[in-house]
């Protein structure tokens, strides 16, 4: 059950985004696979409005989580992270807009890969509660 944790500037090894666009602050891997990511919502987060993280910020958090997942494989090969693009978002539901101070945890499950496109399920909830924030299927492809 070995887990590796990337946090702080260690995240930059997995994704190409830089502040203020970084929307994950912790990445947990297990058996060389990214299993979940976290984000503590700060008041100066650019996607926060009226104390809540808006839907576009949640989608960006999930997209960067997916990019970290695919970026981890390039990291293992000693390469720089590459830019990931959202190909499609579907079956997307938002249950609650999280607030400043909340910590999100997103769990990822790859359900298909083909032609450089990764299809995954993402489930986001607030750490320490059973409160679901969002779920969706997302297609990500990496810049070659």
């Amino acid at each position: 059950m070995e887990k590796t944790i990337f946090e702080g500037e260690g995240i930059f090894k997995l994704i190409p985004q830089r502040p203020p666009m970084v929307m994950i602050d912790k990445v947990l891997t297990q058996f060389e696979i990214v299993v979940s990511t976290c984000l503590t919502i700060e008041k100066d987060n650019i996607f926060v409005d009226n104390g809540e993280l808006r839907e576009n910020g949640i989608v960006e958090h999930i997209a960067q989580s997916a990019a970290a997942m695919t970026g981890y494989s390039t990291f293992l090969h000693g390469k720089e992270p590459v830019l990931g693009f959202i190909g499609e978002v579907k079956k997307c539901c938002f249950f609650k807009l999280p607030e400043v101070g909340d910590t999100l945890e997103t769990k990822l499950e790859v359900i298909g890969e083909a032609a450089g496109v990764t299809l995954l399920n993402a489930n986001t909830q607030i750490v320490g509660t059973e409160q679901k924030v969002a779920e969706c299927q997302m297609k990500i492809f990496l810049k070659q």
Binding site: A114, A115, V117
Partner: protein
């Protein structure tokens, strides 16, 4: 599951998912053209096959599966394994 039952299930599942008539899915037909798959929707077929038949098709194998007959054969071989 017999080969014929496998073929019927594959055709039924794919026709429903990609909104085609089952009759369009003939053994020699090209999968991508028949189902109108592009680079983004191809992964939907891979995920569906995994969900329905428990077979993961690697990208390196996918390029070899051009027709429905090739898909039936691939599934028959890997479901039995």
């Amino acid at each position: 599951m017999t080969k014929q039952e496998l073929i019927e299930k594959v055709n039924s599942v794919l026709a429903e998912e990609f909104e085609k008539e089952v009759e369009e899915l003939t053994p020699d037909a090209n999968i991508k053209q028949t189902l109108e798959l592009d680079s983004l929707s191809l992964v939907d077929m891979v995920a569906l096959i995994d969900e329905e038949f428990g077979v993961k098709i690697a990208s390196s194998e996918l390029v070899k599966i051009q027709t429905f007959q090739a898909l039936y054969d691939y599934l028959e071989e890997h479901m039995a394994a």
